[in-house]
């Protein structure tokens, strides 16, 4: 299970999925003279499939999957989680509240910093950037149910 094998198989699979999708949603293929909406994607998907397959086939010499070092995966997963929370809450809770919560989560839970510094950082980030962008630069940032 080397990195190249995994990557190659992943890419080839993606290409195959695209081909299947185009077929399923009946995107017209057209012809060489008049390519339809599915033509160029099909060509690219085939190219991806072929190159993915070749990479996987030649992948014996690459480092093993485990050897690459995935220690940070928990950290990364946490960051992804917080970002996903931000995306979900942005328009529901409003900008300032979302950013404040996200910063607190990142600093106190993920980075294990003291609660006080986390709160100060979160508050200054949320309100400071809001002031800079909403008031000074007039970006419309969403306000939540509390007018926040």
């Amino acid at each position: 299970m080397t990195t190249d094998r995994v990557a190659g198989i992943g890419l080839a699979l993606f290409g195959a999925v695209i081909l299947e999708e185009s077929w399923r949603s009946r995107l017209p293929l057209g012809s060489v003279a008049m390519p339809g909406p599915a033509y160029v994607p099909a060509v690219l998907a085939v190219a991806l499939l072929v190159s993915g397959a070749i990479i996987a086939a030649q992948g014996a010499g690459a480092p093993r999957l485990g050897a690459v070092g995935w220690q940070e995966w928990r950290h990364a997963a946490a960051i992804i989680g917080v970002c996903a929370f931000m995306a979900l809450a942005f328009e529901r809770l409003g900008y300032r509240l979302t950013v404040a919560i996200a910063c607190v989560l990142l600093l106190s839970l993920v980075e294990r910093k003291a609660a006080a510094s986390a709160l100060i950082f979160a508050a200054s980030m949320a309100f400071g950037t809001y002031y800079l962008f909403d008031t000074l630069l007039r970006v419309q940032l969403p306000r939540g149910p509390f007018g926040f």
Partner: protein
């Protein structure tokens, strides 16, 4: 002690009454412009918002929600709360997009009945321009040539099923000709294409092409309007030339989500009526070379319905481009 109680009781009784009669508007209103900044919808939306703000004495802000030729912004307003705080400045494409969705068997992003029309602000007829070095001097010559060589004369547009495309399609069906369509990703690239001589014709709003007509690079042949364009008095309309079905306007109007209470709608109508009479607004629209064509209530509904029917029929006639091959 009893005094305090009485006062508190009084306040408690009065407070909900006060909030129930909360006057509209009491919060900033968003006027959604579904096109990118600098485009026709955006440039029309800003003077409208500014004028409304003056009349209502309440902030009215323009919010750009762009994407999918306007579908994103329109869908957003259709789905928003009908409380009068989210309005839409739509172009004629509002009638086109649901029809296009139908053709592709897609669930429509929104439907026209999800909106309550408030007023029409401007209605620019499109005009037909060709590069100055082409041999056609009148619309008649152009149409005759197109009949002789079906599918050979090319035109650019701002996108498939877009306003500039539909205008040409209406003409093609009215005059019985077949033209070759070269879609481009917007009105700007469509103009570049004709200026570079890569296509033979373009249906465009007058304001954008006026400088090029004046400088001699483009020639205007005819217009899609009811009347001749004020800045081009020598250019006939297709109606005059015998093609009354070739009528198309790039219009901009204000809509609210359906279900907005009638008193709020009435107030908005009145606001807009006063707003378009404001001298500042008139001056702003003059600078944009867009004539104000204010219609509201019954008149606007009639215009909107007729225009919508025309466009829907046009889209259905075009059908799926792929099927024609």
């Amino acid at each position: 002690m009893r005094h305090c109680f009485a006062v508190l009781l009084l306040l408690a009784l009065v407070a909900p009454m006060a909030s129930a009669q909360e006057a509209y508007p009491s919060r900033p209103i968003s006027l959604v412009a579904p096109f990118p900044p600098g485009g026709v919808a955006d440039l029309t939306a800003r003077p409208v918002a500014a004028a409304m703000e003056k009349v209502l004495k309440n902030p009215v802000g323009v919010v750009n929600k762009t994407g999918a030729a306007g579908a994103v912004g329109m869908q957003y307003v259709a789905a928003s709360k009908p409380d009068g705080y989210t309005l839409l400045l739509a172009l004629s494409s509002i009638s086109i997009i649901p029809e296009a969705d139908k053709i592709f068997d897609r669930p429509p992003a929104f439907t026209v009945d999800q909106f309550a029309p408030i007023a029409l602000i401007s209605a620019d007829p499109t005009i037909l321009v060709v590069p100055a070095d082409k041999p056609w001097k009148t619309a008649k010559e152009f149409i005759e040539d197109a009949r002789k060589r079906p599918g050979q004369i090319s035109f650019s547009s701002s996108g498939i099923y877009g306003t500039l495309h539909m205008a040409m399609e209406l003409l093609s069906h009215a005059a019985g000709i077949k033209l070759r369509h070269i879609p481009t990703p917007g009105a700007g690239p469509a103009l570049t294409a004709i200026l570079g001589g890569h296509v033979d014709a373009l249906a465009s709003g007058p304001a954008v092409v006026l400088p090029h007509i004046k400088s001699g690079k483009l020639r205007a042949l005819a217009g899609w309007g009811d009347k001749r364009v004020a800045a081009l008095p020598d250019v006939p309309t297709f109606k005059e030339l015998g093609y009354p079905d070739a009528e198309f306007y790039i219009w901009a109007g204000v809509f609210a989500p359906k279900g907005t209470p009638e008193p709020i709608l009435a107030k908005l109508r009145e606001t807009l009526r006063t707003a378009v009479a404001e001298p500042d607004f008139k001056a702003a629209m003059d600078k944009l070379e867009t004539p104000i064509a204010f219609k509201q209530g019954e008149e606007f509904q009639k215009f909107f319905d007729a225009d919508g029917k025309r466009l829907a029929a046009g889209v259905r006639k075009v059908g799926k481009v792929e099927d024609k091959k």
